[in-house]
């Protein structure tokens, strides 16, 4: 739940906020407006909107500073006088905002003319904001000096979100009111694109710097001027564009080649490796060569010999399989069964050929991690409903005693023979026997 409220919800609502805002501004710019109702009712509006906006702007600015520069903020608020000032300002702003918002809600509910311009979303927004401000005030009252502690709790939490390494530990221990305040904030963010709140994104700061008069020409004046003057396009302008164009491309080319040439040369020249690096590299290659040669040796062995040693029976384990390579150069697993005799089974998943893992679970199954098939090691059968349908083929084996005499065999189908008689195997000598695989069991399998 926490993960949803404080990780899922934030990302969800910020995504909604960003995408929704862009879509709204692009697709329905006409719908973006402050939706002022001053023309319909002005007295109560003046009493409500001014304190509300001033209060909430101060509050938002405060929240933003604590979030953006938590370290500076923390060191500043370490000064008690500063902290006190900040808190007092915050309280005053919150009181103003709450009063203003209350007035706005009241006004909207009681004024007949305003009903004509009130939709459900307006009410949702007003209600949500009111609750949020009140919760905020209650946070400030119940968990004092929020200006200070927020820098160590909520700010890192927000940063962890922002850097895509969400860390819930910061919010886990916060008091319920703070958590509610956070949750509501995320909810509010998500609502912005669908409500009048979107007008907050059109704060016209550009007004401070723009020229008083705005004249928009539908035709390009200079072009028109040139056309008029030369009875067509002025060759001068045309040439200027051409020169500028070539100049731009040339500059880009020079920059690129300056940046790229040395890197290209460096790439092909390669780096003279340091000794240690060279050693590492050669070691790695050698190791791979060794592994390859090992593999080829295995292959050769399988071509040449009729039987190959897998392990001492004593080395096998009922819970932990031992990998070996079967006659077809495919991985296989060896276990010790409940009857102390070996179980040899192919480790190549019959679904898509992944190598099956070697750990046996409580049900006596091994797992293919690719598509989650559990195979019973005794029968090789996959669990019902598994992607793999066919059982893992069992592999036949020979048991040889230390003298090299075959004392017992089992073929792929599970048929056992005791060439020396069943009595030839002393139960206590089992661990000393060697497990072999034989070509004759695998051919045609």
């Amino acid at each position: 739940m926490d993960a949803f409220l404080y990780v899922g919800l934030p990302y969800l609502s910020l995504t909604i906020l960003v995408v929704g805002t862009i879509v709204r501004f692009r697709q329905a710019p006409f719908s973006v407006s402050s939706l002022s109702s001053q023309v319909l009712e002005r007295k109560k509006l003046a009493l409500g909107t001014v304190p509300w906006h001033l209060g909430i702007l101060v509050l938002l600015a405060g929240h933003l500073v604590a979030f953006l520069v938590p370290d500076i903020w923390r060191s500043l608020t370490a000064n008690h006088a500063f902290l006190l000032t900040v808190e007092v300002i915050g309280f005053a702003a919150a009181a103003m905002a709450a009063f203003g918002l209350g007035t706005l809600v009241y006004r909207r509910l009681v004024t007949a003319r305003l009903q004509a311009v009130t939709n459900r979303m307006d009410l949702v927004v007003l209600g949500l904001l009111l609750v949020q401000v009140l919760v905020g005030i209650s946070v400030a009252l119940s968990a004092r000096w929020g200006a200070q502690w927020s820098a160590g709790t909520t700010s890192p939490y927000l940063w962890s979100l922002l850097t895509f390494q969400p860390d819930l530990t910061y919010v886990a221990d916060l008091p319920p009111s703070v958590r509610l305040h956070l949750g509501l904030a995320w909810l509010t963010f998500a609502l912005i694109p669908f409500t009048r709140l979107i007008h907050g994104f059109s704060i016209p700061l550009g007004y401070l710097v723009r020229a008083p008069q705005q004249v928009i020409w539908a035709t390009r004046r200079r072009l028109a001027r040139d056309t008029a003057r030369a009875g067509g396009v002025s060759p001068e302008t045309s040439r200027r564009h051409f020169v500028k164009g070539l100049g731009g491309l040339f500059a880009a080319g020079v920059l690129m080649s300056v940046g790229v040439l040395d890197k290209l040369v460096g790439y092909f020249k390669g780096q003279r490796l340091e000794r240690s690096e060279q050693v590492d590299l050669l070691e790695k290659k050698l190791e791979r060569l060794r592994a390859t040669s090992e593999e080829q040796a295995l292959e050769l062995e399988r071509l040449e010999k009729d039987a190959i040693l897998v392990a001492q029976l004593g080395q096998l384990d009922p819970r932990q399989g031992r990998y070996f390579i079967d006659y077809q150069m495919r991985p296989a697993l060896a276990f010790k069964g409940a009857d102390q005799l070996p179980i040899l089974i192919s480790a190549k998943c019959t679904h898509l050929g992944c190598t099956v893992a070697s750990d046996v679970n409580d049900k006596g199954q091994i797992l293919c991690p690719c598509h989650i098939s559990y195979f019973d090691i005794k029968t090789g059968a996959p669990n019902p409903g598994a992607p793999a349908k066919a059982p893992l083929p069992r592999i036949g084996w020979l048991l040889k005693d230390t003298k090299g005499t075959v004392v017992m065999t089992q073929d792929g189908a599970g048929n056992r023979t005791w060439p020396e008689g069943e009595d030839a195997i002393a139960p206590d000598a089992l661990d000393g026997l060697q497990v072999w695989i034989a070509k004759r069991f695998e051919e045609g399998a």
Partner: protein, 368 residues
């Protein structure tokens, strides 16, 4: 129908698709115009794919200077390229990012072309060659993935090739063994090994590029021959010159895209998104690592494969492939509005399965 008329009709068909009278530089370049409307951005996608393809060729060639295609050395050479060669990591990264970008733009190109009904007469062959190019691009992705020869790559290839064998279950009698034989022919042996690496290397570096160049040439030629499809139902008021107006605009887009690609390639190694980066070389005795997945661009068929019966998905893929090739025939009479809806639905499917495939998979497979 008499053979003579059939031949004549075939010739007429070809003549319309490949009009000789238009095969002049003047007709293809100077006179070509690009319609201007609100879907015009879609005209950039094919060019973008081409651009990424060029990047792939350049970076791929550069990597060939260091890559050693043998089981013993492939991984070490890639590691050497990444860790020791100046700019090697960047080149490899560019190759990786640009491959993803190429596949993305090819897919988008397909969808928008479909939505704009740009496959209509006489552009059927353009569409068909485009679909073939799409298959090739996936082939590039599949073969290229194996080349670093690390644990994931080899196992993923095993899985990919393994699915061929599954067809055997649905074939009768003697044919049942055919898929296995096909598979072993592709991988050059009973298991994925040196032979597979050599073959994939050859396919990735020589065969596919050659075929793509040919197909691409044909694709571009027919695009130039027939010009840009109007793309919208209403007659478009304005057009602009293809050369040099649109070309230059194209170049502009390329420039910006290259900037973005370069920044991404410099700053975010592609490996960072993988659970298993270059990591350990392939170890035939090691078990398959947990949770291996193909690259994102295979998700659209990987997750259905995981969740649905194989025969259903395999059949669906077959139908889809044939259907894609036959699109100009099937959707001859469909309005652009309907096509647009279909394309949007396909896009939604692709986006959802690519982004949330894992979550969906976990939801339905019982949280493994």
């Amino acid at each position: 129908m008499k053979p003579a008329t059939r031949t004549r009709r075939f010739v007429a068909f070809l003549a319309e698709r490949l009009p000789a009278e238009k095969m002049s530089l003047q007709a293809m370049v100077q006179k070509k115009e690009v319609p201007v409307h609100r879907w015009s951005w879609a005209y950039y996608l094919g060019g973008l794919a081409l651009f990424f393809f060029v990047i792939q060729i350049v970076t791929g060639l550069m990597m060939l200077f260091y890559y050693e295609p043998s089981v013993a050395t492939a991984h070490a050479s890639v590691e050497h390229l990444t860790n020791n060669v100046p700019g090697g990591a960047l080149i490899r990264n560019l190759h990786a990012w640009s491959s993803s970008a190429m596949i993305l733009s090819v897919m988008l190109h397909l969808l928008t072309t479909f939505a704009m009904k740009a496959f209509g007469r006489p552009r059927e062959l353009t569409w068909v060659s485009g679909v073939l190019l799409l298959f090739l691009v996936f082939g590039f992705g599949f073969t290229g993935y194996l080349l670093p020869w690390h644990q994931i790559a080899v196992n993923a290839t095993k899985v990919g090739l393994g699915s061929i064998e599954q067809f055997g279950e649905y074939l009768p009698g003697d044919l049942a063994d055919l898929p296995r034989q096909i598979r072993e022919t592709i991988q050059g042996g009973a298991t994925v090994g040196q032979a597979t690496l050599s073959r994939f290397y050859a396919i990735h570096v020589v065969v596919l590029p050659l075929i793509s160049l040919g197909l691409l040439g044909f694709h571009l030629l027919s695009v130039q021959l027939h010009g840009m499809s109007p793309g919208v139902d209403r007659p478009t008021g304005r057009t602009e010159k293809f050369f040099p107006l649109f070309i230059l605009k194209d170049l502009k887009v390329w420039g910006v895209v290259f900037l973005m690609l370069a920044v991404v390639a410099i700053c975010i190694p592609f490996d960072a998104f993988l659970d298993y980066p270059l990591g350990a070389p392939y170890n035939p005795l090691g078990s398959t690592p947990d949770g291996i997945k193909p690259e994102w661009y295979f998700f659209w068929m990987y997750y259905p494969l995981e969740l649905l019966p194989f025969w259903l998905v395999a059949g669906g893929m077959g139908v889809l492939q044939v259907g894609l090739l036959l699109v100009p025939r099937i959707f001859r009479g469909t309005s652009r509005k309907v096509l647009r809806t279909l394309a949007a639905a396909a896009a939604v499917y692709l986006i959802v399965i690519t982004l949330f495939g894992q979550a969906i998979y976990e939801m339905f497979s019982g949280g493994h």
